[in-house]
Amino acid sequence: MSAVADITSLEAQARRWRDDFPLLEQKVHGHDLAYLDSAATTQKPESVISVLGKYYREENANIHRGVYALSQKATHAYEQSRKKVADFIGAKSFKEVVFVRGTTEAINLVAQSFGRVFLKEGDEILVSAMEHHSNIVPWQLVTEQTGAVLRVIPMTENGDLDQDAYAKLLSAKTKLVALCHVSNAIGTVNPIKDMIAQAHAFDVPVLIDGAQGVPHTKIDVQDLDCDFYAFSGHKMYGPTGVGVLYAKEEYLERMSPYQGGGDMILSVTFEKTTYNEIPYKFEAGTPNISGVIGLGAAIDYVSQIGMDRIASYEASLMGLAVEKLRDVDGLRFIGEPKQRAGALSFILEGIHPHDLGTILDMEGVAIRTGHHCAQPVMTFFAIPASARASFGLYNNEADIDALVSGLAKAKEVFKR
């Protein structure tokens, strides 16, 4: 019952945080909204939303190329966000922070720009059995282009990666390991620091898909020593359409450009084009300026609360959720990993997840049902789909209770 004790002491502060999120005040089908789909996208605090409006009402201009005051302000705000990101994840320099659309684009960028330079026929890329499609398909595309081969780190029944198998898969042929920090489908927290060290023993760089890592835990890329770390703004209280690729300077310098266009060049003639310095070499065209500035505001928001406090609050909440759901008859967890963050997945006997999703929605409870863009995980557990509840810093015990009573309601509907 320690989880319950913790939660009560934390409940008060969480209630204050929740007030920062205007969307959560709405009623859905006459019920208070219990938003339990933060792994898909988080809600946004008022401070992030209003910075977007302020940007367009007071500061909007294109960046990097204007001498006038407005463009200068916009450029400053944009580059300040880059510094905030660098500080937030512990990067050595702002040069290691490339702004992209989201995790998916970050991984595609690495697959292409690293792949073209570093991969050749017969080389191996290791991914894990619990990856999101965004950390599978870009590698499949690059293997088609280069003749490199995709190998898969298997998963155990409880939803952890098989570390013995991983150790055996690493070899001189391995050219990259691409791995999620936290699984979006089942919530597993992978021992990435350890796995990175093992890969480095073979001189193999490691890309971490941090889409579900950054929102839930303090990241220090230098401590982790990862070579690439990718994440999405919209999953960490920031706007849609912006994300980050962190990459070590040595790799960015050696990688080929990704997209060509304005801002990523030093000089262009039809005969010869010289590329700009990093990180600009990888940011072609007008970026999502307001999105980047909004991401900066999101970082300000979570930093002010403190990632450690967020992590410990969410851990208590997760403990409570597991406790309460374990008591639900006919509920089976999909994956019970050693360490879990952000999301938990389950199925309810006799009720398809999709039907569950509809019934819960009628009760004001928003969860995700389906394959969560991780079909191989579904195949592994031999289910067509699962129900997933995932948490943000604004969730509380009432949300979990709404979920539990929604499940009871679903059973009622199906037992008529």
Binding site: I351, H352, P353, H354, D355, G357, T358, I359, M362, T369, G370, H371, M378, P384, A385, V413, F414, R416
Partner: protein, 150 residues
Amino acid sequence: MNELQELYQQLILDHNANPRHYGRLAECTHSAEGHNPLCGDQIFLELKIEDSCVSQVAFSGEGCAICKASSSLMTERLAGKSVSECKELFTLFHALATGEEDAAQDSAALGKLVVFSGVREFPMRVKCATLCWHTLMAAFENKNEVAVTE
């Protein structure tokens, strides 16, 4: 609760729990696969068509209650119908499920299938009810494509 009861009517729950014509045919002339990527519903439909009439039909696969019940009730309904009658039913059923037209007047023709009128209140579930019907149309054309509802 009213809308939910309207959606999950007893008949639907019953066909979900005990689907009719579930399985494979020993021999079939037409078949197709249907897939709803949103929720992972996936069904296989097999038909035996003789003299332009559906003489046998079976479905298999995985799906939510709406999808399974719709497949079950559809297959129950098709046996003996001509292909052109089936196509008319498709049109009626589609109108019923999407609520695009007032299908009430055709409730006689639809028979038991009106049980799915509740889905129009649930736009994300319309495709669950219509997947088997789209798959049927694909089977008639014997295209080797997967019918997709998204």
